[in-house]
């Protein structure tokens, strides 16, 4: 019974029109929650959260650095899963979702890198330190660039989607290996440097805004992802009647 329900849902999900309609209803909700959480989280993090006893107020960068870093990785996973679904079940919508993930993920990775570097300046006294987290973020950014470059190198949209799906799946297998090896490499070369975010115990007032920001970032990602996928649907299905009707009515 459960399985049947899931299958019909999965099947309907594969229909671009259905996906377009349902996400049209979801976008305001996700967008609203995203705006609310980002606003509340920022105000809370900047005004009300206490400052760190070691790092002072530069600590407040954590409220964007950590969510961006989390998102950078989960978007890569989302992209690979969507790509895999598109590859196995030949689902067009999944291909489009995977394609829409890449630029958002690259942005998040860049935000994580940039905020990490800016945070590093007052903490370590240098704009760039070969810290394990920053280094893996840098490699992740390269992986994103690879997927985007491969995506745009193909003439055929179908082949582009398939090829980048394979690349992102290969990337997903590699991400834990890369992370592990970079961390190991880091301990080898810089023993006992203190990392930016790993605190033994953060007080409640410090991590609550962080939680709010993480939720906000996730909702923001969902919103933009749906918007991009909807555009992708419009572009690829522009010969169908429903898209033509929909576009000309606006």
């Amino acid at each position: 019974m459960m399985f049947e329900t899931f299958r019909t849902w999965f099947h309907r999900m594969g229909s671009p029109k259905w996906f377009y309609d349902i996400t049209g209803r979801w976008i305001p909700w996700f967008g609203g929650i995203a705006a609310l959480c980002l606003l509340v989280g920022t105000v809370w993090g900047l005004f009300f959260a206490p400052q760190d006893y070691q790092q002072g107020n530069s600590f407040r960068i954590i409220y964007i650095h950590v969510p961006a870093a989390i998102l950078a990785q989960s978007i890569f996973f989302t992209m690979a899963i969507a790509g895999g679904i598109g590859l196995i079940w030949k689902m067009k919508v999944a291909d489009m979702v995977a394609k829409s993930c890449a630029p958002i993920g690259a942005t998040m990775t860049f935000i994580a890198l940039f905020t990490g570097a800016v945070w590093g300046k007052p903490t370590w006294g240098a704009w760039w330190v070969w810290d394990a987290r920053l280094t893996s973020m840098l490699i992740l950014l390269f992986l994103y660039f690879g997927v985007i470059a491969l995506q745009s190198a193909f003439d055929s949209k179908q082949s582009a989607a398939r090829a980048s799906a394979i690349l992102s799946l290969v990337g997903v297998v590699n991400i834990p290996i890369i992370k592990y090896s970079v961390e190991w490499w880091n301990t080898l070369h810089q023993p006992a440097t203190f990392t930016l975010t790993e605190k033994p115990a953060m007080p409640m007032e410090m991590w609550m805004p962080l939680l709010v920001m993480v939720i906000g970032f996730y909702c923001f990602f969902a919103t933009v992802l749906m918007m991009r996928t909807r555009n992708e649907i419009l572009e690829r299905e522009k010969r169908t009647q429903w898209v033509q009707g929909l576009l000309s009515s606006q």
């Binding site: 590859l87 490699i139 390269f142 992986l143 660039f145 690879g146 470059a149 491969l150 190198a153 193909f154 003439d155 055929s156 179908q158 082949s159 398939r162 090829a163 394979i166 690349l167 799946l169 290969v170 990337g171 297998v173 590699n174 290996i177 890369i178 592990y180 090896s181 970079v182 190991w184 490499w185 080898l188």
Partner: protein
Amino acid sequence: MTDSSVGQISTWRAFTGTLKRDLLLVFRRRSDIVNPLLFFSIAVTLFPLGISPEPEFLSNIAAGVLWVCALLATLLSLDSLFQQDMADGSLEQLVISPHPLFILVLSKVLVHWLVTGLPLTLLAPLLAVMMFLPDEGFGTLFITLLLGTPTLSLIGAIGAALTVGLRKTGVLLTLLILPLYIPILIFGTGAVMATSNGMAVGGHLAILGAMFLIALVMAPLAAGAALKISLNG
């Protein structure tokens, strides 16, 4: 039609047949073997010239330089892995032959390693002398390259398969593959440095071996799937 269908279809024969054919092709065009080796030697030479010929300094960076250059030499030779087969139509024949595609891909990757990875590994100790690698490091360098270069060929095959159908590959292959090479580089050089510092390297080698096995299982499958896509690009 001949009436002699004596032999049976055998995947092993397809594997060795492809292996023999590709080795023969390389043998006919020897520059495919020599060019990566020349690149390797020249690139290594640039470091003393570009940074400093001081023995103490060079011995510090020797392992890293040798590994990075070996990696780049492999990368540059990957471009042609499937290119010829794509152009002359024999790639189509590989794909529709009654054998699992990953076996045939494996055979091509093996040839690639035999003509680039293996010679690079053999040449590396020689260049290591010029880079003043500490004596203890030689064995480890050789073993890590022996374990690491097949992984480089395997992972590289995925990138080569993904880009073979494109009109202009350019640096795309490098962009796709280099980030995936980083773990191998880290553990390869890490092992050599560890021996130079008198530490045990069993762990490093085990990890390199594990990465090789993962690549051995997964890369031919991924490359095979990528080839099928590239044929339709």
